[in-house]
């Protein structure tokens, strides 16, 4: 839902600027240290008109597989030159159709293509000329909006759309019918900038992830309590509580860091749907634990085990950025530290309050209240994520 909203906002801005009602081509440029990926979304109707209907003989894809045909078409209409005038190799790495939504056009289909460009060793990947005239060589009223979707070293990535930057509008110059090449010069970034952006992303990720926050609250809540005969009996004192909180939080952190690393590198992959369900289950169990002790004295192992599951969910965000190894390492560090910062801040605030409450006579009601709510919410999440 959020993604869709961002997309609509983005499109609205574009229409406002260019006052053009027809859907345009959107070109998203993703930059990693020495590789460019061009993500193209072209309204399918315009592909039909410009590519297949207008020149059925010379350009029709008669006999050719779509992949090969598109490679041939774009080899003429998407070219990248370094400053020395040499062409950079362009490779089609993804081809499918998707449904897009526009505030005035409604839903429409788009051809979605991914091109990978590898600049020569000695060339600056941030400095090049883009010769692009797909579709508009035929439909002269069409235009393509080039923006930067991901630039790790400048802290720009798709999940922080507010920082995404429009680079240029590619269109036919009506005075001479030509399409000007785009001279691209992207601002230099740094590892520090990329790291900071990942730190912020980590902070935001957990601050917006209510399921992780609830899980943490439930764990901290019972930390100061001692179980006697399968019941929460009395508070074991601040020292006892603090020590247990530290152990539980550290164990959770080790758990989620482990799977975050493993899954972000793509060594092991899990279905994100089942991971989300498992998280709901972990919350359910923790919620029940606040009502009746289920794993008293074994919290460290349980927190660590559930940490493994939560880490898998954290890794989805990083994996979607498709970073290469060096940037991924820095991202892992930044992202994880960001999560930790919020986590520690929250525990530092919650723990004293909960400890104090655990020594009052309201403790019982509070635990039942929070635990009961946790049970209901986690069951709701479970069903929501299952179906």
């Amino acid at each position: 839902m959020k993604k869709r909203l961002v997309f609509i906002v983005c499109l609205t801005w574009v229409s406002q600027l260019w006052s053009h009602p027809m859907p345009n081509t959107l070109i998203d440029l993703r930059l990693s240290s020495h590789q460019l990926v061009f993500d193209l979304k072209i309204p399918l109707l315009d592909v039909e008109t410009a590519v297949f209907q207008t020149n059925p003989v010379s350009d029709g894809h008669a006999g050719l597989p779509m992949q090969v045909f598109m490679e041939q078409y774009f080899s003429k209409h998407l070219q990248i030159k370094g400053l020395d005038g040499r062409l950079w190799p362009v490779q089609l790495i993804g081809l499918d159709t998707i449904v897009a939504s526009d505030p005035i056009m409604g839903n429409f289909q788009e051809l979605h293509l991914n091109f990978r460009v590898n600049p020569p060793e000695n060339a600056d990947a941030r400095l090049f000329l883009l010769y692009y005239d797909a579709i508009m060589h035929q439909i002269v009223t069409h235009q393509a909006i080039l923006s930067i979707g991901q630039d790790w070293e400048n802290g720009i990535h798709a999940s922080e759309n507010a920082t995404a930057k429009s680079l240029a509008v590619i269109q036919v110059d009506p005075t001479n019918g030509k399409v000007l090449p785009v001279a691209v010069n992207l601002e230099k970034g740094s590892i520090w900038k990329g790291f900071l952006a990942m730190f912020r992303l980590g902070m935001r990720h957990i601050a917006e992830g209510y399921d992780h926050l609830l899980f943490l609250l439930l764990l901290v809540m019972v930390a100061p309590l001692v179980s006697v005969r399968q019941r929460w009996d009395h508070a074991g004192g601040w020292r006892f509580g603090c020590w247990r909180v530290i152990k539980v939080v550290t164990s959770f952190t080790i758990g989620h860091s482990l799977t975050l690393v493993i899954c972000s590198f793509g060594w092991v992959q899990f279905s994100s749907r089942w991971v989300e369900v498992a998280i709901a289950v972990s919350i359910l169990i923790s919620a029940l634990h606040t009502i009746r002790p289920l794993f008293f004295q074994r919290e460290v192992w349980v927190a660590g085990g559930f940490g493994l599951i939560h880490g898998m969910a954290f890794s989805n965000t990083l994996r979607s950025l498709a970073l290469e190894n060096t940037q991924l390492l820095w991202s892992l560090l930044g992202f994880n530290l960001g999560i930790e910062a919020v986590q520690l801040g929250l525990v530092a605030f919650l723990a004293p309050v909960l400890f104090w409450l655990s020594e009052t006579r309201y403790d019982h009601f509070l635990r039942l209240g929070v635990g009961g709510t946790g049970v209901l919410i986690s069951i709701y999440w479970m069903f929501q994520r299952l179906f």
């Binding site: 008109t49 505030p103 001479n176 090449p181």
Partner: protein, 452 residues
């Protein structure tokens, strides 16, 4: 006695009341009466002042804005929710104020049936229809705007700008005469006849029929010459595309046409020009008719101007008319977009890059050529804060162009371009940089370059 006294008193009261009533009535009617006696620009300015007199000072500051290209270019084909307009919104005016605003617009437009003000009213009604038939609150007759760029006067320079979704009028006046009637944008959804109250309207039927009649009169060979190989999903010179007329005209030249065919072209042009007042319309028609032999007709897709991607253009030394058929947005099946522009007098000439007297902003960013003096291979460095298109042209001492222009669409930041002067004789040259920003504003800078 008592009865008489009472009667007299009643009479006095009655007379007094009648006098007061007549007096106030006369006072109310004064301006209206005075404007009625006027004609042309005097009447327009009188009605503009009358409208302003009915507004609060806050409303006036919304209505009256600076006369510049940035403001003048703020019209669009889009609903107002997607492209914000300037000026005062019809929906924000009281009934009395709206009557005065419309009286002004009526005076500034033509009076023929289905043209001028009549067409404007039908377009407002069409948007109201669209709003009530699936379009929602983004559309509707209240979503139109009126703005004065500059202060309305019979001496000074100002533009009467009015428009909204599918409608834009830009009447420019200077020194007591009309100096621009364009860009004049018309479009409608639905294109088909629709019901508004007890009336049935089809505001763009005459335009479409007149333009289609031109193409219908062409022979197979004429059609072949007139046909464009490219595809048009919309008009080429819509909003934001000011002063971008093609340098080379396409299609069939009207000198090749018969008298009957030429008459059809003139009739088609008339359906646009007669949207302005009859005196100025006659002047424009005389000009466009005189230039007809130099005027070209081009079209794309099919000739009926009824299916999507159908397109026609009339491009003369001065006249520019485009009509494009595209898919319906709210209602099926299609709807047209159309514009009348003038190669010289759009916005009264404001921002025309070919007029030497137009002052351009000086480009203040980095613009360096090195090495200078050049032995043949130099670099140009240009730094910009925002994306723009730029062109670098080299002129010799006689003002003649040297070599090919460097032209790029550039991202924000610093850029280096190679400048090849190997073939040119040793001399001092003038390099002109033209930067065109996304908002349509143009800035320029020049540098001297010696070739040794």
């Amino acid at each position: 006695m008592k009865f008489k006294l009472l009667c007299s008193a009643a009479l006095v009261v009655l007379l007094l009341a009648a006098f007061t009533w007549q007096h106030t009535a006369a006072k109310d009617g004064t301006t209206c009466f005075t404007c009625d006696g006027l004609s042309g620009l005097e009447k327009i300015v009188c009605l503009a002042d009358d409208f302003k007199a009915s507004l609060t000072s806050a409303q006036i500051s919304t209505l009256e804005l600076a006369y510049n290209l940035t403001n003048a270019a703020k019209w669009s084909n889009l609903p107002v929710t997607l492209a914000s307009r300037i000026g005062i919104r019809f929906g924000d005016l009281s009934a009395d104020q709206l009557v005065k605003a419309k009286a002004l617009i009526a005076a500034a437009m033509g009076k023929g049936a289905n043209e001028g003000y009549d067409e404007a009213q039908q377009l407002w009604a069409a948007d109201q229809y669209l709003s009530q038939n699936g379009g929602g609150s983004a559309y509707g007759s209240g979503q139109y705007y009126l703005a004065f760029l500059g202060t309305p006067s019979t001496i000074g320079t100002w533009e009467l700008q009015t428009g909204g979704h599918h409608f834009a009028v830009a009447n420019t006046y200077s020194g007591g005469v009309m100096t621009g009637a364009t860009p004049s944008f018309r479009a409608v959804e639905p294109f088909a006849a629709f019901q508004s109250g007890t009336n049935t309207y089809q505001p763009m039927l005459q335009e479409r029929d007149a333009l289609a009649a031109v193409l219908a009169s062409f022979s197979g060979a004429e059609l072949a010459t007139a046909k464009l190989s490219t595809t048009y999903n919309d008009i080429a010179l819509g909003p934001g595309k000011d002063w971008q007329f093609p340098t080379i005209k396409s299609g069939i030249k009207c000198i090749q046409l018969s008298t009957t065919q030429k008459e059809k072209v003139i009739a088609a042009i008339r359906t646009y020009v007669e949207d302005i007042d009859s005196v100025n319309a006659a002047a424009y028609m005389a000009l466009y008719t005189a230039q007809l032999d130099e005027t070209y007709i081009a079209y794309a897709n099919t000739t009926a101007l009824a299916t999507q991607k159908d397109y026609i253009r009339i491009d003369g030394p001065r006249v520019w008319i485009e009509y494009s058929v595209q898919n319906g947005i709210v209602l099926s099946p299609t709807h047209p977009h159309s514009v009348w522009r003038d190669h010289l007098s759009d916005y009264g000439g404001l921002g025309n890059p070919n007029v030497a007297t137009n002052n351009f902003q000086t480009f203040s960013g980095k613009f360096e050529i090195f090495p200078n003096p050049s032995t043949g291979n130099s670099q140009v460095e240009v730094a910009l804060e925002n994306p723009a298109t730029l062109q670098i042209t080299v002129y010799d001492a006689m003002g003649k162009k040297v070599g090919t222009d460097l032209a790029y669409n550039v991202t924000a930041g610093s850029h280096n371009f190679p400048m090849d002067l190997k073939g040119v004789p040793a001399a001092i040259y003038n390099c002109i940089l033209t930067v065109k920003n996304a908002d349509g504003t143009v800035s320029r800078a020049s540098r001297q370059l010696s070739k040794i």
